[in-house]
Symmetry: C2
C-alpha cells in the first residue's frame, strides 16, 4: 500500500450526486428479489454450492502461505525494476501457468526507471566502543565505494545562519540529520482487529460525494493552521539546501532516524535527490520547492549515500555527542543500479470465461507485487498477491467454470505512485485527454469489476463501496456466507492508497476490502520487519476464499456489476 | 536481574514458622502506636518534613535520567570485568564522591574471571542476495579472526544417528542450530502496570514459609511431568555432544535463534563451553551432564564463535534452506578477552551517620552495575543504579543528616550469579562454613537493612517482605506518603533473582521493591533493546524518592529494623 496515495490519484466523480434509481446498471428488482434461484441471473443453488466448495478448499487445503513464503523468503524484496521484482514477475507468471491459468504473461506497462539492489551493507560504531548498528540504506541510495570510516557529526539546523557552523567540517563525515525522537512505552497492543465501534462507524459512513460537499466531520484530522503552515514553510526553507550543502562539503553519508517504529524495526523508503533551491517549484507547489527528480530516474543528479537508522541507535548517538563523545562509524554500502532495462511490467493471467457471450467480459483480482526493499514485505503486499493467486487457484482447482473471464493482475510500481495499475488502466480501459475528457475503450465497456487486497495481513471484514451504492444489496448477499468468518460490513466510504483507485477514477468498479489492521501501521507497513512472521495464516485463507467468491459471483452475473455515474464521459 | 536466581541462591530460614509476638525486634507497641512524634523513636514531624523535601526535590529536580543516560549511552554495556564495567566502577565512584559522599571506592570482591569486549561485528547474507542480518554475538564468544564467508547449514538433530548426515560437511560452515520459532502477533500490549488484581494477590500472598510447606497453589506453574522430563533428557542426550561435534567438524560459526522477542530485538546472554559428554556430571546433576566450565574462566577450553540472530532473519534462513536455497553468509566478529586482571569489584560510597551512637550501623541501598553486553542495559540494571545513586544524592543534597550511615553499593557479577553481592555479604556480614553453620561478623550485628531496585524501569508499587512480617506495620507507615504515587502494597512474598537475596539468605533484612513490569519481560530484560528509550522518567523519579525515604527512615529509627529469626545461627 502506497503512502498518501489520495494525494496522487484524483478521485473522479466524487462530487456528483448519486441517486440510486437513475444509476446505470441499477435494477430495483435486485433489491426486491425474493427467489434465490434468480439472484444474479444465475442458478443460485449451484453458485451457493460453489461458494461452499471454495470455503472448504480454501480453508482446509490452502496454499496461500506457501505462495507467500516463496515471495517473501526466497524472492525477498521486490523493488520495482530490481532483480527481485523481475524474479517475482517471472515466478508468478510461471506459477500461475503451472496451475492451469491461461495467457500468463509479464506485461510491460511502460518506462519506470532504473532498478536498484543492495550488494553489501554493514554499519557499526567503532570508536570509542563497538556498537553494532541496526540500519537500512534508502532505496536508490548510492554506495560508499567500499568500507569507509568517518566521524559522526550531528547536524542541527534551526536557521540559515547555522550552516556556517559546519562549513569545512564535514569532509568524510557521517552526518546525523534528524532530531532525537521520543519513544513511548507500548501500553497499547501493536496488533488489533476492527471492533464493533469501528465497523459501525464504517457501516454508517456517509456517501463520499456528500461528505466531500460537507467537509470533514468534527473530530477528524483538520488541515494545519496558517501558523503551522508558516512554521513548516520556514523550516522547509532552511532545510531546502541541506542535501546540496552536504554534498558540497564532501560528507560521506547522510543518516536519518527511522520516523516511527522501535525495538529494532526501521521504516524506510526512498533516497531523495538533492533539491536545487533556486529551481522553479514543480509538482503542485510543494513548500519544499525545487525539483522533483526521483532517484530512480537514470538522469537523476548525484546523491549522497543515505541510510535510515533504528531509533534506539540513532538516539544513543545523539545523546553521546551531546555529552561530548566523538563517535566514529564504519560503514560498507555497496549497491547496483540496474539501468539496462527501464521498462516495468505487471504479471497477468486468466481463467477464460466459459460463456461464449460473456467470455470477453473481464473480472479482475489483484494486489501489487512490487515492494520496498527492507524486508520480504509480506504484508505490503506479498499478502495481496498470495491472496489473489490463491483465489484464482481455488477457482481453477475446483473447475468452477466462471462465465466471464477472471484475470489476475499483480502490479508493479505501486509504491512509487500506483504506476503499474494506472498505466494498465489507461492502456486497457481509458484515460483523460489534455482537456480532462475521458476517452474509453471497448474493454471499458466489457469490464465487470476489480477486487484489490492491500491493507496488510488482516482478514476481510467487508468492502469499501467507493460511493457505489448500487452494489450494496448485491455485496450484502454475497457476504452472507462469510458472516461466520467476520466479513459483514459494507461502507459507502472511499479508501485510498492502492491499486483500485485508477479503476475507480475512470468510473470502473474497483474495490479494496475492509481488513483488520493487525500490525500494519505499528510494525509492518514499509518497514524492515515486514517479514513472513507477521502474516496471519487464518486471515489470509479467509481473504482468499472471499476474493474468490466475489470474483466468481461477479463472473456469474447476467449483467455487468453496476457502476457509478460515468465521470465526465 | 539475573535469570532463575532462585535456583542459585538458597533461601535460608524459609521453613521456620514465624509467630509475630516472638519475632526478634518486634514490638506490639509499634502496632498500637498513636502518637506520631514517637513513631520510630524519632521526632516524627521532622522526619515527615524531610520526606516531603525528598518528594519535592526528587520529583521536581531529579537527576536520575542524566545518571541513567551516562551509564547507558556513554559507558554502554557493562559486562563484568570488561572495560565498560571498569569504566562504570570508576565513573560511579567519582560521581558519588563529587556529590559529597564519603569513602567512595571501587571495592574488589574476588576473582571473577576474564572480561570480554566486542571490537567488530557485522553479519549479512551475501548469496543469493544481500540480506543485512540483525544478530549479536554471545558474551565471551571467540572471534572469527577477521571476515569470513561460509555456506549456511541447518543442523537438524532428532536422534544420535542424525550426526552421521553432517560428517565431513561442516568445514567452514555457518551452522544454524535452532528450530524455526513461531512468532505471534502482538494482540497484548508489551507494556503493563500491575492491576488491582495482581496487587491484591501480592497483598494476600501467604507467608513464604507456609507456602513452602503447602506447595504451590493451584494454577501456578507445575514441575514438568516424568514423561516431559524423560523427553527432555533424551533430547539433551542427543544434543550433549553437539558443540564438540561442530568443533571437530571445523564449523566456523554457531548461530541460534533469539529464544524470545521479535521485530529486531534479540535476547542474548553467554556463550557456552562445549560439554564433554564423557565427563562426570557436576553442579547438581544437570540432565545435560558434562562439565560446567564457564566461558569467563581463563582456562575454559576452546569454543566456536557463537551468535544469536533475530527471529525473523533466522526463520527466513531456515525457510529458504527448506525451499532449496543455499545461502552464504559473511561475518566479521572480532573480540578481546581481558585477562590481565581477573578481579571484580563493586562500587561503594557512604553518607556517614550523624549520630555518634548509631553511625557505625549501616543502611544500604543498591542495584547492580554490571549488565549483559547487547545494549546499554538501561532497565537491567542501570535503572537500579541510577535510582540508588539518585536516592543518596537527594539525601546528601538536602543535607538530611541520617543518624545511621547510609551506604550505596553497586554490584558486579550479578548476571552470572549475584557474585558481587554474595561475596560482599560473606566478606562483611557472614557466611556458612562447610557444616552449613552460619558464622557472622560484628558488621552483621550493626546492619540495618538493604534496599534493592532491579525489576526494570517500573515505579515502586510496594515491597516484598520476604516473610519478615515484623516490618509490615513499619513499612505500612513509611509507604503512606507515597500512596498518591501508587506505592501501597506489602506482600509477605519472597521475590528472587537479584541482590537482596544474599542478605536475606543469612537473615539480614534485604528487600526488593514491587515494581510495575512495563516492558521488562517482553522487550528489555537481557535484550539488545534495553536502551535508554525504554526507561520511564516519571517511574524512576518516584522510585528514587521512595528508596531515599526508606533508607532515611531506616537510618532514623531508634532500633535496628526487625529481622526474621536468625537462620541456624
Amino acid at each position: 500500500m502506497l503512502d498518501h496515495a489520495r494525494r496522487l490519484v484524483p478521485l473522479a466523480g466524487l462530487a456528483l450526486a448519486i441517486t440510486l434509481p437513475t444509476m446505470p446498471g441499477f435494477s430495483p428488482a435486485l433489491l426486491a428479489q425474493e427467489r434465490p434461484e434468480e439472484r444474479d441471473g444465475g442458478p443460485e443453488a449451484a453458485i451457493a454450492e460453489a461458494i461452499e466448495k471454495l470455503k472448504d478448499e480454501g480453508l482446509n487445503r490452502s496454499q496461500v502461505m506457501e505462495t507467500l513464503s516463496y515471495l517473501t523468503d526466497v524472492i525477498g524484496p521486490r523493488l520495482t525494476n530490481s532483480p527481485g521484482m523481475r524474479h517475482a514477475n517471472a515466478w508468478t507468471r510461471d506459477t500461475l501457468a503451472s496451475w492451469g491459468l491461461e495467457n500468463a504473461a509479464v506485461e510491460p506497462w511502460g518506462t519506470f526507471g532504473r532498478g536498484w539492489s543492495l550488494d553489501r551493507f554493514s554499519m557499526q560504531v567503532v570508536e570509542p566502543q563497538c556498537i553494532p548498528i541496526i540500519a537500512m540504506p534508502k532505496a536508490w541510495s548510492p554506495g560508499t565505494g567500499g568500507p569507509i570510516t568517518g566521524k559522526v557529526v550531528l547536524l542541527e539546523l534551526e536557521s540559515e545562519e547555522d550552516y556556517a557552523t559546519y562549513e569545512g567540517k564535514l569532509q568524510g563525515a557521517i552526518v546525523l540529520v534528524s532530531d532525537e525522537r521520543e519513544v513511548e512505552a507500548h501500553f497499547e497492543p501493536e496488533a488489533t482487529r476492527l471492533g464493533d465501534d469501528r465497523l459501525l462507524s464504517l457501516a454508517n459512513a456517509p456517501d463520499p460525494a456528500d461528505r466531500r460537499r460537507q467537509g470533514p466531520p468534527s473530530g477528524e484530522r483538520r488541515r494545519p493552521t496558517e501558523e503551522q503552515m508558516a512554521a513548516f514553510r520556514a523550516r522547509a526553507a532552511v532545510l531546502a539546501k541541506r542535501d546540496k550543502f552536504l554534498m558540497d562539503e564532501g560528507a560521506a553519508l547522510v543518516v536519518d532516524c527511522s520516523p516511527r517504529g522501535d525495538g529494532g524495526t526501521i521504516f524506510v523508503q526512498s533516497a531523495s535527490v538533492p533539491r536545487d533551491p533556486d529551481a522553479e517549484p514543480q509538482g503542485g507547489g510543494s513548500p519544499f520547492g525545487g525539483n522533483r527528480v526521483r532517484p530512480w530516474d537514470p538522469e537523476a543528479p548525484a546523491m549522497l549515500p543515505q541510510v535510515t537508522m533504528a531509533v534506539e541507535h540513532y538516539n544513543r548517538l545523539v545523546r553521546m555527542i551531546k555529552q561530548g563523545v566523538e563517535p566514529t562509524i564504519e560503514v560498507d554500502l555497496r549497491v547496483t543500479f540496474h539501468d539496462e532495462d527501464l521498462t516495468a511490467a505487471n504479471t497477468v493471467a486468466e481463467i477464460p470465461g466459459s460463456d461464449p457471450e460473456l467470455a470477453e467480459q473481464v473480472v479482475m483480482v489483484g494486489g501489487h507485487l512490487d515492494s520496498w526493499h527492507g524486508a520480504g514485505c509480506a504484508t505490503d503486499n506479498a499478502a495481496g498477491c498470495a491472496v489473489a493467486m490463491e483465489a484464482v487457484r481455488l477457482i481453477k482447482t475446483l473447475d468452477l467454470k466462471p462465465r466471464r473471464t477472471i484475470r489476475i493482475a499483480l502490479w508493479s510500481g505501486e509504491e512509487q505512485g500506483l504506476h503499474g495499475s494506472r498505466n494498465y488502466v489507461s492502456q486497457h480501459f481509458g484515460a483523460r485527454n489534455d482537456d480532462g475528457e475521458l476517452k474509453t475503450t471497448e474493454e471499458y465497456d466489457r469490464f465487470a469489476a476489480y477486487y484489490n487486497f492491500d491493507n496488510g495481513t488482516g482478514k476481510i471484514r467487508g468492502v469499501y463501496l467507493q460511493g457505489n451504492e448500487a452494489v450494496r444489496p448485491i455485496f450484502r448477499r454475497w457476504l452472507q456466507p462469510f458472516d461466520d468468518l467476520g466479513a459483514s460490513t459494507l461502507s459507502s466510504s472511499n479508501t485510498g492508497g492502492t491499486d483500485h483507485l485508477p479503476f475507480d477514477a475512470i468510473g470502473l468498479p474497483g474495490f479494496q476490502f475492509i481488513q483488520d489492521p493487525i500490525e500494519y501501521n505499528t510494525r509492518t507497513h514499509h518497514s524492515t520487519m515486514d517479514s513472513f512472521e507477521r502474516a496471519q495464516a487464518d486471515d489470509l485463507k479467509q481473504a482468499a476464499v472471499i476474493m474468490a467468491a466475489f470474483a466468481y459471483r461477479t463472473a456469474m452475473m447476467d449483467e455487468l456489476l453496476p457502476r457509478k455515474p460515468a465521470p465526465g464521459r
